[in-house]
């Protein structure tokens, strides 16, 4: 199957040249967007994992064994 990319990489007319330029620019923008979102996601997941570890710690702190010890 002929992909859209192949259509744009086989320019024959001036209008196709223009379309190729627009498309390449879109691809560049889209790639930038993905890398940008990846960075934001990594920061987000770092925060989530940190609080999950704190939550695990809290689970031990407020466990039944500790309750028995306190009593």
């Amino acid at each position: 199957m002929m992909a859209l990319h192949d259509i744009f990489t086989a320019p024959t007319e001036p209008s196709a040249h223009f379309a190729l330029q627009v498309y390449s620019h879109q691809v560049e923008v889209f790639t930038r967007l993905i890398s940008y979102l990846a960075v934001v996601s990594v920061i987000m997941w770092a925060c989530v994992v940190t609080t999950m570890l704190i939550r695990l710690g809290a689970g031990r702190l407020y466990s039944r064994q500790r309750l028995r010890k306190k009593l």
Binding site: H5, V29, F30, L37, C47, V48, T51, R55, Y62
Partner: protein
């Protein structure tokens, strides 16, 4: 800046907001869980040392019913099995055409319950759910706290005890329950189960930041004095439960706090067909929009009675989400087109993994879910991403239908909290 630059900026801002929002839910849900553990530990310690308050204030459990013969006995069984003893149970029958009132009468007679403990209020004329609830609240409820329960729902034995414990905080006026969907082995059943679990996770975050304004009708508990103060339920919107919670908040949420209680567990039947789901979501969407329009002065308000979290974040976000929903097909189309044409699956894979991991985290930290249920649902987790698209479609359809009725929505016509009950299944289940 050229057009694609603007597009990039817009898309980047929206996506970042989505990711940050997602992170906010997860981080704050973890902090909420820590708060819950601390609370539970404190209560257990007090109970073990004999310091716990042994006095039980009277709690009225209100069960509005309209044609609920298949499920009403199951609901009553679960309330009666409660570990909380000082109860007043009122079933309000809103002119059912089936044998609901007869069944309730027999239920009370067979168990020889005194009217002070359990009674039936049978209305002759059907007036809608809000009217039925108001009748019972104004003329029959005596409790210091009122819990409303839908007839197709069941309560966990410790639900009322746990709900009452939140009123130890003087600013808490309403408690939202953790409502789970009863097991249904269908795509829609699993979808609703995941949706409820994930939705309630966001409630944890809102609760901790005191910006919650939506409390559903199942197993929500209120202080009676506050209900009297606000004049009980409004009957001019399709969702009387959201109407009541936002009406309370309208008096200032700094002093009238609504909290989500993950340990107040109830379960309800999900709808069993796409058509019923579409109908239900349209009603919810219409009712939510009615309430957002009715209380629009809260959006962006700088009044000191409200938290900024409510007026500057939660309520504006509720409005913006509805607007985004309208454009969601465009966003899907753009993402799918670019992903396919670029031969890059990065974005879709990222989104897929995020949703799957989020679903798994939600599952494994869910309250009152047995190990085997967690394991069973984990098998379905990889499909969550795809079935959420179905829910997106349902929500999109609901908002479009609301737009078709924009005139009646803005003029608040077609506004009566009437009964819209999906078909009941009425299987034997328990939450103990």
């Amino acid at each position: 800046m050229d057009l694609s630059g603007i597009g990039f900026g817009l898309f980047a801002v929206i996506s970042t907001l989505y990711i940050l929002h997602f992170g906010y839910y997860l981080v704050y849900a973890n902090l909420y869980d820590i708060w819950q553990m601390r609370r539970r530990f404190g209560r257990q310690l007090e109970a073990a040392r004999g310091l716990a308050d042994v006095q039980q204030p009277l709690v009225t459990v209100l069960i509005p019913a309209h044609n609920e013969e298949l499920v009403i006995a199951r609901c009553l069984d679960s309330v009666i099995a409660s570990t909380y003893e000082n109860l007043q149970i009122i079933v309000v029958d809103d002119a059912s055409q089936d044998s609901t009132p007869r069944l309730v009468r027999r239920y009370i007679k067979d168990r020889q319950f005194k009217p002070a403990y359990c009674k039936l209020v049978a209305k002759i004329r059907n007036g809608g759910k809000g009217v039925a609830l108001n009748t019972a609240l104004k003329h029959h409820a005596r409790g210091a706290y009122v819990m409303t329960l839908d007839a197709d729902s069941i309560l966990a034995p410790d639900a009322i005890t746990n709900a009452v414990s939140y009123f130890a905080y003087p600013d808490v006026v309403g408690v939202a329950a953790n409502v789970q969907i009863l097991d249904e082995p269908t795509v829609l059943g699993i979808l609703q189960k995941f949706e409820h679990m994930i939705g309630y996770r966001s409630k944890k975050a809102y609760s901790l930041c005191n910006c919650e304004f939506v409390i559903g009708g199942v197993a929500s508990t209120y202080r009676m004095e506050v209900l009297r103060e606000v004049g009980f339920y409004d009957t001019d919107t399709l969702t009387e439960d959201i109407g009541l919670s936002i009406k309370i908040i309208n008096n200032g949420n700094r002093e009238n706090r609504l909290v989500y209680a993950a340990d107040v567990v109830a379960a309800t039947e999900g709808v069993d067909g796409l058509r019923a789901l579409l109908k239900q979501r349209y009603r919810w969407k219409y009712g939510s929009l009615q309430n957002l329009i009715k209380y629009r002065q809260l959006i962006g308000s700088t009044d000191a009675r409200y938290t900024l979290g409510l007026t500057m974040y939660r309520m504006p976000v509720a409005v913006i989400s509805e607007i985004f929903l309208l454009f969601s097909p465009l966003i899907w189309a753009y993402v799918i087109y670019m992903t396919l044409t670029q031969y890059s699956l990065g974005l879709i894979l990222g989104a897929y993994l995020t949703i799957t991991i989020y679903t798994l985290i939600t599952l494994w930290t869910a309250e009152k879910l047995t190990f085997w249920n967690q394991l069973r649902l984990s098998i379905y987790a990889p499909t969550a991403y795809f079935i959420f698209y179905l829910m997106d479609f349902v929500q999109f359809w609901a908002i479009c239908k609301c737009l078709f009725h924009i005139r009646s929505l803005l003029s608040n016509k077609d506004s009566n909290s009437r009964w819209v009950s999906p078909r009941r299944i009425g299987r034997e289940v328990s939450l103990s």
